[in-house]
């Protein structure tokens, strides 16, 4: 499964400082999040879509597959807003459904926003190894080691959690548990799954913390790092690219809007 996410070739994007790349992509996401300018969002989506397909080092087929969920989000979120969104210039009305010029526009905006943010996130996720991201956060951004190592350690336990989830599903099936309907059923499901899952995870996490401290992991002491990360020329290129993309999108001439 993880091999599937290994890139075909390593591009310059993979060699950028992970923390810096993360910060840049987060900033682009923030700008997109608060933007209401459809043209701006479309241009950004094109920039980062292109970026993804040209520089991520992944095969086109895989990238299309990875973009599929975002396309689905585009459809579902824009549809709700188009049907129930507020607006004055009504195009079509039927019962509680009211489609207006404004609601179609806000539906399009939110759909494009989800798509653009999805593409920006994929650029970061597909070219960054989580371990290196946390090492870079600690070294370049002084992110506290206790949080970074805890997160990395807990991340390693995720496969076990998923396995336990499946075991639990099988166990409940064998015991012939029938869930009630409605809210009560949701509650039963939640409780039957989460209690053993949390009990085991908490025990495991506690044991791991004790083991780490026994190996002299200290929360607030200067430390050395197994993976050393630093800035390079590539980070300057990436910064220039991101600034360029934002500027072009902002300064789009009027006829394209």
């Amino acid at each position: 499964m993880l091999e599937w996410f290994a890139p075909q070739r390593i591009t310059w994007l993979h060699r950028a400082n992970p923390a810096w790349k993360g910060l840049l992509m987060f900033l682009v996401m923030l700008v997109l999040f608060f933007s209401r300018d459809l043209a701006f969002i479309v241009v950004i989506a094109c920039w980062y879509g292109g970026f993804l397909f040209v520089f991520s080092g992944f095969a086109r087929r895989k990238l299309l597959l990875l973009c599929l969920p975002f396309a689905l989000t585009f459809l579902s979120s824009s549809l709700t807003l188009a049907l129930f969104g507020k607006g004055e210039h009504v195009l079509w009305q039927w019962g509680i459904v009211k489609i207006s010029e404004e609601s179609v526009r806000s539906g399009l905006i939110i759909g494009m926003k989800s798509l653009a943010i999805g593409l920006v996130s994929l650029v970061l996720l597909l070219t960054t190894r989580p371990v290196l991201l946390f090492y870079a956060l600690m070294q370049q951004f002084r992110f506290p080691a206790r949080f970074a190592y805890s997160f990395l350690a807990a991340l390693r336990l995720v496969p076990i959690v998923i396995e336990e989830w499946q075991t639990r599903t099988h166990a409940l099936k064998v015991r012939g548990i029938a869930f009630s309907k409605g809210v009560k059923g949701v509650y039963e499901r939640l409780k039957l799954y989460s209690v053993p899952l949390f009990a085991q995870s908490i025990r495991r996490a506690q044991r791991m913390a004790v083991a780490m401290e026994a190996k002299q992991f200290r929360m607030n002491q200067p430390r050395t790092y197994y993976y050393e990360t630093s800035y390079s020329k590539i980070d300057a290129y990436l910064t220039a690219y991101v600034c360029g993309s934002l500027l072009v999108a902002l300064l789009m001439p009027e006829p394209f809007r």
Binding site: S114, L197, Q206
Partner: protein
Amino acid sequence: MKQWKFTDVLVTIMVGIVFGVIMKFWDDFYTLIKPILPTMRQLLYGMWFMVGPFAFLLIRKPGAALLASLAGAGLSAFIGHGVQVLMYGFVQGLMAELLFAAFRYKRYNIVVAGLAGVMSCLGSFLLDLYYGYADLEAWALVVKYGLRTISAFVFTGVFAYSIIKALEATKVTTLIRPVSPDEYKHLD
């Protein structure tokens, strides 16, 4: 007693990550019902607010809600929900945290946990307002966020509280909480 130990940090983040995994499975379920039953999906939305209050009820230390919420959002972002979930995780965790702070981190009952969920819900509404999910007709807006608020209270108050109770019965909480009979009185 309020001092953070490394065990607390790791357990809080672990709780956040387990919620991240549960939320992933929840999300598949949610995507399935999303187009068919728009009201039903708001009733299940409270699941997304559970992580912060749950972690606070478990660890009972300042900052637990925010940290667990961020960890859960971090996992969601890693498995491909988009970087914006970090914003939601941060704001929802922060809002829950503010409510617990208002009670000086000394109340661990159903009402306070539920209100923390309602605060998280308010946080998600504010973000939706900027993001654009809230550009709805007035009636749809009231239905959507009204149902979400109810769901927030039920999930974070009633559900999270009773799961914590069940966890206490397994004795796993004694690993991380200093035991004092006085604290148990608050629960009854």
